[in-house]
Amino acid sequence: MIPELGHFALILALGVALVQVLVPAYGLWRRSGRALAVATSAAQTQALLVFTAFGCLTWCFITQDFSVAYVTANSHSELPLVYRFTAVWGAHEGSLLLWVTILAGWTLAVSVFNRRLPADITATALAVLGVVSIGFLLFMLLTSNPFERLFPVPEDGRDLNPLLQDPGMVIHPPMLYMGYVGFSVAFAFAIAALVSGRLDSAWARWTRPWTITAWLFMTLGITLGSWWAYHVLGWGGWWFWDPVENASFMPWLVGTALIHSLAVTEKRGLLKSWTVLLAILAFGLSLLGTFLVRSGVIVSVHAFASDPARGVFILGFLGTVLGAAFLLYAWRAPKLVSEGELRLFSREGLLLINNLFLVVASASVLLGTLYPLVVDALQIGKISVGPPYFNAVFIPLFAPLLMLVGLAIAVPWKRARIGDAVRHLRVPLVATAVAAVTLPLVFQGSASLPVIAGGFLGFWAALTALQEPWRRIRAKTSWRAGLASVPRGTWGMTLAHLGLGVWTLGVVFVSSFSIEKDVRLSPQGSVELRGYEFQFQGVESRPGPNYDSDYGTVLVEREGRTVATLHPEKRLYHATHQMMTQAAVDHTPLRDLYVALGEPLDNGDWALRLYYKPMMRLVWLGGVLMVFGGILAASDRRYRPVRATETAVATQGVVA
């Protein structure tokens, strides 16, 4: 009964989504306020229906209803309760339902928080979100219904993919989807601006918090995914340039560009059509990412669907939505006139250059990801491009970008003088140079040119980020008044750029000073790695809830003292007969000691991976700082029109 209820709710939601699109469209045409207002209630009804469907599927998983095909494919009677929740989005059908649910959530949020916007803008935005929702609901109902029943009912399920039975996996997909889908809101506002022909700083002010929120979720999702790969895949890598990672990285890069160009549009009324184009591209890349992951065209850990009909559907949808958006853009964008002139040496000019770098970076990822697919589709051959390509392209693109970060902060809007910029940047420049040379010497005892250059870029981004609050605080007489005078938006920017610097330092140190050793060890054997003595104590068998484990013990000593006892595991899952490697890591801010079991060899010997990774934590810390920066920036009070008016009224009252 419950599965049918869920299925029925999805069909109803599709109907309501149609209303959400058609009635406001009629309202725009006939200039009928009542028809426009339907968008809001339709959006809220649709959200309720979709949430119901999601709840139904979750219920099927909790109660282990194996008559539902999707539950059978992704659950098992021994599966722990937490993973029964996460199994809902463990495969194709359910993750689509998650996509639609999150879209409904964003639509609901738009309908609730934007009631103060002009009615036609809100209605158009909601109608655009409705179109996206129709596409995905149709896709789910036609090709991948999660509520399909099985007959006869099997006795037990086939279990959730063991790779996904990890705490990191519990939140990685929802966070990433919040980001992917969140860009649809920026897209909807961009279309609304094109339709209405009005794009001013007020528009940029509505769009900014939505975009920043989507971006921060995406950052969090990518960071979590990287963390998960590091711990579960057992290779000790944190980024593989896997097509699916690229699929999330491309919209992130364009989204980052969008955040910055929105700032220019809000403050200076410039780059309007560029901002709209970025909003369309960011969402387009999100859809493309969905296509890459869901159609099974790429070989990857993530690609679980391999039904050509699904690929064709998403590709068709992608083509329709983007084609329509670009046509509208070509027709209406010339109407969006800038309100001034742009000088290259000013904050907006430097932000434009930053945008170019980000977009080119995104394009180069796109090339490396799609070219092999195109070549394969045309049957010219089968090729692949590995990480060396991406690294070779990214380093020359990111180095100038990081230099720009510091420069753009030191330079004012409108017009800048080089002399002022140099004066502002003297101190950070010297501090950066000193730190870049000192840090590797102190912690690693050596410093090569690439490390110093990389460290310089990292420190530069981090130290220059602190300038803006520093300047504001110094302008006040006391520290306390100064701290209070810094707006949240500024703190957000500072934290995000600090995070970028910290991330860069982490990447530079990990890639320059990591030591990776694959060894063969017999029980009680030991090996030395950069002053750490890894002593292998052997492997014992241990049962887990739904797997059997080879539970290893490795003692790590330094100068005779035990630093850590690590327990890397190798798990064999019962239902799937799949082997999983669970690495064990001991971490301090300065280094990670990473041990993973390889494979059993003869005479009780084991192959082991032993890694020493300095400053690995900084890579995640950088991501987390960016996320906090995003939270602060999105919650800045000037995005809350209600409060702002109240304050204005209050001040006027005092003056009067």
Binding site: V299, L356, L367, G368, G381, G386, Y389, M580, D602
Partner: protein, 157 residues
């Protein structure tokens, strides 16, 4: 400079920058592009010696030998030919005899393929699509009787 000249200069600089970026990108691309081969392609001398490439096929049953330390030797085969593969390192969790894998490395003068990376993903029924497809003959059928039970028809579905 007039406004128009300035604008033209800016556009020229932009195009120059984009061109440079594209040139760098394509160079990096061509240097790091790896082609996919089957054992038959490799033995038909389609691949240059020493070039980095990806070799996909089935691990022949009974061919896996562990050597000193982490050295491993095995034979990779498609329906017609075999190539000996040498690898030093840890094999992936899903590496099993009779299963389809992809090895990255280069062909050495002695006819031995030296791998620096071995990939095997997904569950035991999984075969990389490239392997599955390349094992299929012209008529869409395969003749992999010696390499049972992993047959592309059943495994790739």
């Amino acid at each position: 400079m007039t406004k128009r000249q300035k604008r033209m200069a800016a556009i020229a600089a932009l195009l120059l920058g984009l061109g440079l970026a594209a040139a760098l990108g394509f160079t990096a691309f061509r240097k790091n592009m790896m082609y996919f081969y089957t054992p038959s392609d490799l033995l038909a001398n389609a691949a240059p010696l020493g070039a980095k490439l990806r070799l996909g096929g089935l691990v022949e049953r009974g061919s896996l030998r562990h050597g000193e330390g982490l050295r491993v030797d095995f034979t990779l085969a498609d329906c017609e030919h075999r190539v000996p593969v040498h690898y030093e390192g840890i094999l992936p969790d899903l590496f099993r005899e009779g299963q389809g894998i992809v090895a990255t490395g280069s062909l050495q003068p002695g006819g031995v393929f030296v791998a620096d990376e071995v990939l095997a993903k997904h569950d035991e029924n999984y075969m990389p699509p490239q392997v599955a497809q390349s094992l299929k003959g012209k008529n869409g059928q395969h003749s992999c009787a010696p390499f049972k039970p992993v047959t592309p028809g059943g495994a790739a579905s």
